[in-house]
């Protein structure tokens, strides 16, 4: 039985590597700007990676005895898997390599971040022991993955539409989004390399010792000793649990993101948005707009069913109330309200195209906020995932 867990871990690694390979192949095919063999290989490699990912999921399920969607690591890897599934299906209808690149990059980052959370197989507490666990979580994740496609299309649309020479505000927003994505990549790279070299810094405070997985720039205000020569005390008003640790992670990630950004700019010699634009230019932007709308039209009902209706039925059973204004519930409602607004606003004159694209970007930010920030910043009943 022990073997199952090990094999399943290796399958996830294999999937991760296939996805990386997929990104390279799809980018190459986008740069060549022609449909053909390369694209098919890229799709195949991604599909093989997804099969491995599915294998990871099934083996972990068999080993642990419950659907592996019960903590942040498991949920995030599952969300990554749903993103790739949606990509593989969508690609049969809309053969745009760049859409695939977007989906793969986001999925890789999510899986990479997932690996930073505890990966042990954990037993289910009584409130999670229900079939609704996998019914609710899988549908919600699938809905979010379909909705995410509107972000991929929207971002490409914005990249396509922006005149790098004139529209300064938009240009800088694009660079900011790219820098943010790079920060996540930077965090992942740093965390993986520090973990490989076994780096940890133990910061002693008056009554506890905190283990940092990254260099401790920010330390609690009551710090006694740190292995690092300098550390900035976090301001007094940040009192949440592990506030210093979280602020430090955010700071180091942004720092790494900036370093990566500068490095890339050093090679491209122009804004990253401008460097990417030639790849996007050939894409039919009306089609991108269509894909964006379609993905919301398809994803919204799935999301409603999974993240609200199934969630409420289960909450009534497990917590004796279907709705309790728990932060995760509330943010699912906010996501739902936002996409409902998206569907209506598109009907208004002049809200298709670029404005819709920006809305799709905001929508994805809300989903990501609910996935990560609500768990890490706001403590609620969904503390496990």
């Amino acid at each position: 039985m022990e073997n199952l867990s090990i094999i399943s871990g290796h399958l996830l690694e294999a999937a991760f590597i296939s996805y990386l390979l997929g990104v390279i192949l799809f980018t190459w095919s986008a740069a060549k700007q022609q449909h053909g063999q390369l694209e098919r290989i890229a799709w195949g490699v991604t599909a093989v990676g997804w099969m491995a990912h599915l294998g990871f999921f099934i083996l972990r399920w068999v080993y642990s005895g419950h659907a592996p969607v019960s903590n942040l690591f498991e949920f995030m890897t599952f969300f990554g898997m749903m993103l790739i599934l949606v990509l593989l299906i969508m690609y049969r209808f809309y053969r745009y390599s760049l859409l695939a690149v977007m989906a793969l990059v986001i999925s890789i980052l999510i899986i990479g971040c997932a690996a930073m959370f505890p990966r042990d197989v954990a037993p289910l507490v009584p409130s999670l022991q229900s079939h609704w666990l996998y019914i609710h979580v899988t549908t919600a994740a699938l809905g979010e993955a379909v909705l995410a496609v509107s972000f991929f299309a929207g971002f490409l649309y914005i990249l396509h539409e922006t005149d790098q020479a004139i529209q300064h505000k938009r240009v800088w927003l694009i660079e900011a989004i790219i820098a943010l994505i790079l920060s996540v990549a930077g965090y992942m790279l740093l965390a993986i390399s520090f973990r490989t070299f076994g780096f940890t810094a133990t910061v002693m405070t008056a009554d506890a010792s905190i283990i940092y997985q990254l260099p401790p720039f920010f330390v609690p205000s009551d710090m006694v000793s740190s292995p690092f020569p300098f550390g900035v005390s976090v301001p007094d008003w940040m009192r949440g649990e592990n506030a210093a640790l979280k602020l430090n992670t955010i700071f180091v990630s942004l720092l790494a993101g900036c370093v990566l950004y500068i490095l890339i700019r050093f090679f491209t010699r122009k804004r990253i948005g401008a460097a990417l634009q030639p790849l996007v230019r050939k894409m039919p932007k009306d089609m991108l707009d269509d894909i964006g709308y379609r993905s919301v039209a398809v994803g919204f009902p799935i999301f409603t069913l999974g993240a609200l209706i199934f969630a409420m039925i289960w909450a009534q059973q497990a917590w004796d109330r279907f709705w309790g204004w728990d932060p995760k519930e509330v943010w699912a409602l906010i996501t739902w309200l936002f996409y409902a607004a998206y569907l209506h606003i598109r009907m208004l004159r002049g809200w298709q195209g670029i404005r819709s694209a920006w809305l799709a970007v905001i929508g994805f930010c809300i989903i990501m906020f609910n996935l990560l920030a609500v768990n890490l910043l706001i403590v609620g009943l969904h503390a496990y995932a």
Binding site: M1, E2, S5, Y63, G65, P118, D120, V121, A122, P123, V125, P126, S127, Q129, S130, W237, R239, K285, D286, D290, Y293, R294, A297, V298, F300, P301, T304, L305, I309, M312, I313, Q316, Q317, A318, W319, D320, F322, G324, W325, D326, P327, V330, W331, L333, I334, L337, F338, A340, A341, H344, I345, M347, L348, R349, G350, Q352, V374, I378, V379, G380
Partner: protein, 515 residues
């Protein structure tokens, strides 16, 4: 695709202006509501007209929706009052935890935002907007689609999304093509109207009915008539009456049990170690539900067994019209304490205190006397004040006046501490023995709004799928004077796939022609 008449750029069928040069494209008909006249557009005289017009506007509806969204998000910045630790005073909690901001948050009532009058008002406005905007659109649209003729004016057809002029020698064969793609075809003379999935147009109105039902259910929940939420703590082996049931429903806790995961299980070893304590596997209570018979006020009622069952987390049970949920427990609650009083000379006296209902005076051996001044069943320090967090003896503390002749000393006694309040330190009382029991917390609920919520949810889902997963498509074929056909097509969304379908239909027809 439509070509811009100025720069020849190919634009999406739905585009209103050219994406390349920005010039206005050849006018398309606004087909959203079939051009049907709506009340909100026609009348604007009385106050009712104006209110109607306000709520019928999708734009205004969106403002209300976005305000609701922002208000909803505002409530998650700090925890809502229901989630602050039990026993904390809200005002003190928000200020001490979150400083000035917390104080302001509490002062503005954001700690109970979701039950505030203005949040309810927003939801009410949203409901009004959904209702009025739907009525305003549905009836004109329904009539227009029901009464639509096959023959349309040329202007109507040439201003559709898809327009094509084509020689068709065998219209019957083209119609067969169209029928094969599940269109329903009507004929009028030599003209045709093919239509499919008209029901998709009703999707938004169906889902709005669902939403209104959900809002209605939420509104009904404001009245206690529609639901009853009770909570009972019952000790092992004891029977408790469910509050507010007119003394008619009793529940006996035969046995409450907690099961935990085996910490040596190789599968979960690592996770349990990470957690630092044992992880519960199940919380279960064996219960008997009784109904009181021949109940006369003040008498002990005769209990008739209704049901014997087992309730656990995630597995609620139903009895007597109520649903019973396992939703709390308390291990090792104190049922009785043995205290030992001691004077300076080492003379001791033991006495029993019932933590459920303590006596006030205790005549002790060796001439000692204890008088209970104050009792805190679940004592907690809140700043400098001693409070009791609950009325259950989970952490009992007492204030005793202990006296011997005319000497009196006031003592504060908790399980693990004794403080002399008069400061003379001549006497001491401490706990030497105790009895404990387990308590199960059962939530007993009845809610008639649940079916309404569920029905609303179902109807909403049906409407969503109906409206978003199908598209209403129409094709008009009109014979021109020169014998060719004017082909016009319309879809209510996803223009590009409709365009593909049209091209495919005509393509197959053309191939058949040559072959």
């Amino acid at each position: 695709m439509q070509k811009c008449s100025i720069c020849k750029h190919e634009n999406n069928l739905f585009s209103e202006e050219c994406h390349h040069c920005g010039s206005t494209l050849k006018g398309k008909l606004d087909m959203r509501y079939e051009g049907a006249g709506r009340r909100s557009q026609q009348r604007n005289q009385t106050l009712i007209d104006k209110v109607w017009r306000f709520f019928a506007s999708v734009r205004n509806g969106m403002y209300i929706l976005l305000m609701t969204l922002l208000a909803t998000a505002l409530g998650t910045i700090l925890p809502q009052r229901t989630y602050i630790p039990i026993g904390r005073v809200p005002q003190e909690f928000y200020e001490s935890e979150y400083g000035v901001f917390g104080r302001l948050y509490h002062y503005l009532g954001f700690d109970q935002l979701y039950s505030s009058w203005w949040y309810m008002t927003l939801l009410g406005l949203l409901g009004a907007s959904i209702l009025i905007a739907s009525i305003d659109r549905f009836f004109p649209l329904y009539r227009a689609l029901k009464l639509q003729p096959v023959k349309r004016k040329e202007h109507f057809l040439t201003h559709q999304l898809y327009v094509k002029n084509k020689e068709i020698s065998d219209p019957e064969r083209l119609i067969r093509q169209i029928r094969d793609r599940r269109y329903r075809v009507r004929q009028d003379g030599e003209d045709y109207l093919a239509e499919k999935n008209r029901f998709a147009r009703w999707g938004p109105y169906v889902n709005h009915i669902g939403l209104l039902l959900v809002l209605l259910a939420a509104f009904l929940r404001l009245f206690s008539f529609f639901y009853q939420d009770e909570f009972v703590w019952i000790r092992d082996g004891e029977t408790a009456v469910v509050p507010d049931t007119n003394q008619s429903l009793f529940i006996k806790n035969k046995q409450f049990s907690v099961d935990t995961y085996d910490a040596d299980d190789p599968k979960f070893e690592a996770a349990i170690e990470q957690e630092g304590r044992s992880i519960p596997k199940s919380f279960t209570t064996d219960i008997i539900v009784y109904e009181a018979e021949n109940h006369i006020a003040g008498d002990t009622p005769d209990l008739k067994v209704l049901k014997q069952m087992q309730v656990s987390v995630n597995h609620p049970v139903k009895a007597a019209g109520f649903t019973i949920y396992q939703s709390g427990y308390q291990m090792n609650e104190f049922s009785g304490l043995t205290l030992r009083a001691e004077n300076e000379d080492g003379l001791t006296a033991d006495f029993q205190v019932n933590t459920e209902d303590p006596q006030t005076d205790y005549e002790l051996a060796n001439g000692l006397h204890a008088k209970l001044v104050d009792y805190y069943p679940d004592y907690q320090l809140n700043g400098d004040n001693i409070i009791t967090a609950t009325k259950y003896p989970r952490n009992p503390a007492f204030v005793f006046d202990i006296s011997e002749g005319d000497m009196t000393e006031r003592l504060f006694i908790a399980i693990d501490e004794v403080v002399s309040e008069t400061g003379s330190n001549k006497y001491n009382i401490h706990a030497v023995d105790y009895d404990t029991h387990n308590v199960t917390g059962l939530s007993v609920k009845r809610d008639w709004t649940l079916p309404v919520f569920l029905l609303g949810g179902l109807i909403f889902m049906m409407g969503l799928i109906q409206g978003l997963y199908w598209q209403h498509r129409r094709i008009w074929l009109q014979r021109q004077a020169d014998g060719s056909y004017l082909i016009a097509g319309h879809t209510n969304k996803h223009a590009s796939s409709f365009e593909r379908e049209m091209d495919r239909i005509l393509d197959i027809y053309d191939k058949g022609e040559s072959g």
